[in-house]
């Protein structure tokens, strides 16, 4: 009888499996444990984490370290993944032609058309053409309303107002004849005066109809076809707003510009292709498919993408002692996303949702300083340390301890930095692939799309369901059910969307409602894991045909997610394969596959392990 511990050092998590192997190679699994990986995978820094996790597993098995015969470690080749995000569109307003922001509380409703006149000049104005009153900073709302009422009394047709402060309702409430008022125009002093302008405010809950329609603007300003063509981008930018101002200036324009983010050159076994990052994720992934398998990727020097790939390369070279130019990027995942960005030239701090591309890149070394790690580990534990076989083989062996699995089997290991897949056919051949992009990218997408700037909160949003605190005594869950509490909820959750994390309720400080946050969360998971699952299975399946796979077993930390496995199962439902979350050894869920596989492999053929220092 031999007592062994299989240890899997992952990028994020180190897992152990303790078992007793009988003389005929029969295995009795005793326990498992996990802990965060200390340091970068495959380096001597891992020792601390490994020792902790082996001790914990032994404790659970009620055995001592001195009883241990061997520690089996995976060939922990470091995987470094880099994440970057580049905004590829930009909205630019010139000559203050448009004020398209959505103040919370515009005043009045309807459409007003006239010439822009400063509030101070209203008194000198003679009756004649209609005017739009521009109310600058420091003017009290009562004074503003009083001045406009006085002007109207003198026969001046005031059809709308543009206001600096958050005063629109206050002013509109005090007008004898209400007109649409757009407020919170921070840079109101830049509104051109003496120009034709239109102010539109929709009824609450509605959006504007005239200024968001090119022909609406043409009607208002009497534009000809050529001029209408020029204002079409203005109309487009105003779609969905509750209020807007359009000023007709000679050269006013709104442009949606593509920002060059640099070109990405993908070198693969089937050739080399260059693609502009601002062409979007689809183009990049199509180019990649054309040259796959990737042998290296390079970013245009001096460009954003160049900088990003250089960073990945540098980290890796530092870790492994390889020269930076010898480091090879082995996969790239591009994802379309969007980020709220300030509009250039805007007068009211308007934000536009700009397109962006997120890139994950992955570098995998050949074996790193594994022997050093193994030697240190032996010192720390006083036990023989064997470096086990190929990681993918081990993962498959471990996955096959899941009840109900059979060959041909594919595993999908959904980690933090990479999505790994392997296939074992009936004849025992294992093919594997390591793809860039996994749980960390999902977190990053959630963080940036919601504009949270808080990775840790984004991680919680990824992992736990949402609810809305509807009172101090109950929340409404995502599925519409109410949950009541006897003690009042914390004051900072009031009327907020909260994450029901394992450490309690956490408010999400954003304007988005629950459904929007949920949608962003699910879309991010889809864009990364469904895409990667299909990409990975396609690459490992015999002949690239998913129907050839009998069983797919989903493993890894992200397989614990409450919806990712369902999303993947749904995506492969059409292929007639059995796909589910792994349950390693019938008890560990999607965790512990490699650690378990190391033990199983050792039991089958103990001589295959590479002994270190014994």
């Amino acid at each position: 009888m031999a007592l062994v511990a299989g240890v899997d050092i992952g990028n994020s998590t180190t897992e152990a499996c303790v078992a007793e192997i009988g003389p005929d190679g029969d295995v009795e699994y005793l326990s498992g444990a996990l802990a965060p990986t200390s340091g970068v995978k495959g380096t001597a820094d891992n020792v601390e984490g490994v020792v902790a996790v082996v001790r914990r597993a032994l404790e659970r098995a009620r055995r001592g370290v001195q009883e241990l015969d061997a520690v089996l470690v995976n060939e922990a080749t470091p995987v470094i993944s880099g994440l970057a995000m580049e905004t590829i569109t930009e909205t630019i307003v010139t000559e203050s032609t448009m004020i398209g922001h959505n103040p919370d509380t515009p005043g009045g409703a309807g459409l007003g058309v006239g010439t822009t006149v400063a509030f101070g000049a209203l008194g000198e104005r003679e009756p004649g053409e209609p005017v739009i009153c521009v109310v600058g900073a420091g003017i009290d709302f009562e004074d503003a309303a009083h001045g406009i009422n006085a002007a109207v009394e003198r026969g001046i047709e005031v059809t709308g107002a543009i206001v600096h402060a958050d005063d629109a309702t206050l002013i509109a409430n005090r007008l004898r004849e209400p007109v649409p008022v757009v407020d919170e125009v921070t840079l109101v002093e830049k509104v051109p005066l003496g120009m034709p302008a239109a102010v539109e405010v929709a009824e609450p809950g509605r959006t504007i109809r005239t200024l968001s329609n090119s022909y609406g603007i043409a009607t208002v300003f009497g534009l000809d076809a050529e001029q209408t063509r020029m204002v079409a981008p203005v109309a487009r930018a105003l779609v969905g707003n509750r209020s807007a101002v359009v000023v007709r200036t000679p050269d006013g324009d709104v442009t949606g510009r593509r920002i060059p983010a640099g070109a990405l050159t993908l070198s693969g076994e089937r050739g080399k292709r260059s693609v502009e990052v601002d062409a979007g994720a689809d183009e990049i992934m199509t180019a990649l498919r054309g040259v796959r398998p990737l042998t290296d990727a390079a970013g245009e020097p001096g460009s954003h993408v160049g900088g990003m790939l250089a960073r990945v390369r540098d980290t890796m070279s530092e870790l492994t002692g390889t020269r930076a130019d010898a480091v090879r990027i082995q996969d790239v995942l591009a994802v379309d996303t969007f980020v709220p960005q300030r509009v250039t030239g805007a007068l009211a701090g308007e934000f536009a949702l700009e397109n962006a591309v997120a890139l994950a890149a992955m570098v995998r070394t050949s074996r790193g300083p594994m022997r050093l790690l193994a030697a240190r580990l032996r010192e720390a534990l006083g036990v023989d340390v064997l470096i086990g076989g190929v990681e993918a083989d081990m993962a498959v062996l471990g996955a096959l301890t899941t009840p109900g699995t059979g060959k041909p089997v594919a595993i999908l290991d959904l980690g933090g930095g990479s999505t790994d897949a392997a296939v074992a056919t009936d004849d025992g051949v294992v093919r594997s692939v390591h793809l860039a992009g996994a749980g960390d990218l999902v977190t990053k997408l959630i963080d940036s799309e919601l504009g949270l700037d808080n990775r840790e909160l984004a991680e919680d949003i990824k992992k736990f369901p949402l609810a809305k605190a509807e009172s101090f005594f109950h929340v409404r869950m995502e599925d519409g059910t109410a949950r009541f509490f006897t003690d009042p909820l914390p004051a900072d959750t009031f009327a907020r969307v909260v994450v029901l994390s394992d450490t309690g309720m956490r408010p999400v400080p954003t304007r988005h409602n629950l459904d929007k946050i949920r949608q962003v969360r699910r879309a991010a998971k889809h864009k990364v894991f469904v895409v990667n699952a299909l990409r990975a299975l396609e690459q490992v399946a015999p002949g690239g045909n998913l129907r050839q796979l009998g069983f797919v077993v989903v493993l890894g930390g992200s397989a614990l997610d409450f919806e990712i496995p369902d999303l993947i199962a749904e995506a492969v439902a059409g292929f007639g394969i059995v796909c589910g979350t792994g349950n390693v050894r019938g008890s560990e869920g999607p965790r512990n596959a490699v650690a378990t596989g190391l033990v199983a492999a050792h039991a089958l053929a103990p001589e295959l392990g590479l002994a270190v220092g014994s």
């Binding site: 400063a118 509030f119 600058g136 009290d140 001045g147 629109a168 309702t169 206050l170 004051a491 009031f494």
Partner: protein, 196 residues
């Protein structure tokens, strides 16, 4: 000149209209005033006229399309007590409590008294803009929205510098407490003093 900003001086007239009861409109915010606010006292600790304080609170609420009701609490001078009692009378359950010296709090009826939605403990830092934003946030809570809390300014020098004056003002305010007195509904009017 209209475009040079606040040059007018307003005076505040508060007329009592009997005991205040619970509100029936769900879109109302109650402003709870301390015993001597706009009465014995007319300015905050940093000499901001109470007329302007109340006008900004009301403006912040009105701009959000929400109704305001002003109630004086004579029964005590503790801000949490005033704000919480005001919240209990508010149709939306949301109230703003404000002391003569300028300390302010947003409260909700279901919260325990010692909690609050937003607290502005440093009266010397409360300027007109802050009062406007307090009114705005209270109204947004009443609408079931979840506003960003008004950024709490903090000045570590303010506390020692103003501590003595604050204590004096508190003692004075407390002299106006009528224990057990009912809250009183107020009619609020602003009058323009000469424009100077």
């Amino acid at each position: 000149m209209a475009d040079t900003g606040v040059s007018t001086r307003r005076t505040l007239r508060l007329d009592e209209r009997g005991t205040a009861g619970p509100g029936s409109r769900t879109d109302e915010v109650v402003i709870g005033l301390s015993p001597a606010f706009g009465d014995f006292f007319t300015k905050t600790i940093v000499d901001i006229p109470h007329a302007e304080v109340l006008r900004e609170l009301l403006a912040g609420i009105e701009e959000q399309g929400v109704h305001a009701r002003v109630i004086r609490f004579r029964g005590g001078s503790d801000l949490a007590v005033i704000a919480h009692a005001a919240a209990k009378l508010s149709g939306s359950g949301i109230a703003v409590g404000v002391l003569s010296r300028g300390t302010t709090m947003i409260h909700q009826k279901d919260l325990v008294r010692l909690s609050n939605l937003e607290l502005f403990p440093q009266a010397p830092l409360m300027d007109l803009d802050a009062f406007r934003k307090v009114g705005r946030n209270a109204a947004r809570y009443a609408k079931g929205e979840s506003p960003e809390p008004v950024p709490a300014r903090n000045d570590f020098m303010a506390r020692p510098r103003w501590q003595a004056k604050a204590a004096l003002l508190h003692i004075k305010e407390t002299e106006f407490v009528v224990p057990g007195a009912d809250p009183v509904e107020l009619d609020v009017r602003f009058q323009l003093a000469d424009a100077g």
